[in-house]
Symmetry: C2
């Protein structure tokens, strides 16, 4: 993939920090996916190796878990 | 400050992921500080609110702790 994917679950505390990161990278270079709202995207996130949100999956496939919002297991519930 | 500051301690496991993030933001927009090598920069990092490394301090002053490499307390030793 050529764009990064930013997975989050709407964590209100982290919104400012997350938005900062997206702005730094450039919002046109990041796809933002809210797996709290769109649970059908959770298996895809897991396949990339996302263990908690917020997380950024880079074009190289590296997963950066940022701070610790919520375990992906908790988002499933 | 106008640039982001990326604090790390040389964690070899995370180097690839960290480098990815710096590349995404653009290396010219990030100052990289290795507080493992340059311990005199630790108080500055703490003042920004850095609790563990790697961490990115954004120009807005938000601290993004990425994955969990090492506690800043462990880097002091």
């Amino acid at each position: 993939m050529s764009k990064s994917v930013f997975y989050h679950a709407g964590c209100p505390v982290c919104v400012s920090a997350e938005q900062d990161l997206v702005n730094l990278i450039g919002s046109e270079k990041v796809t933002i996916v809210n797996i709290g709202e769109d649970k059908s995207r959770i298996p895809e996130a897991e396949q990339y190796g996302v263990k908690s949100v917020p997380a950024l999956v880079t074009p190289n496939g590296n997963v950066l878990h940022i701070n610790f919002g919520a375990s992906i297991e908790d988002v499933k519930v």
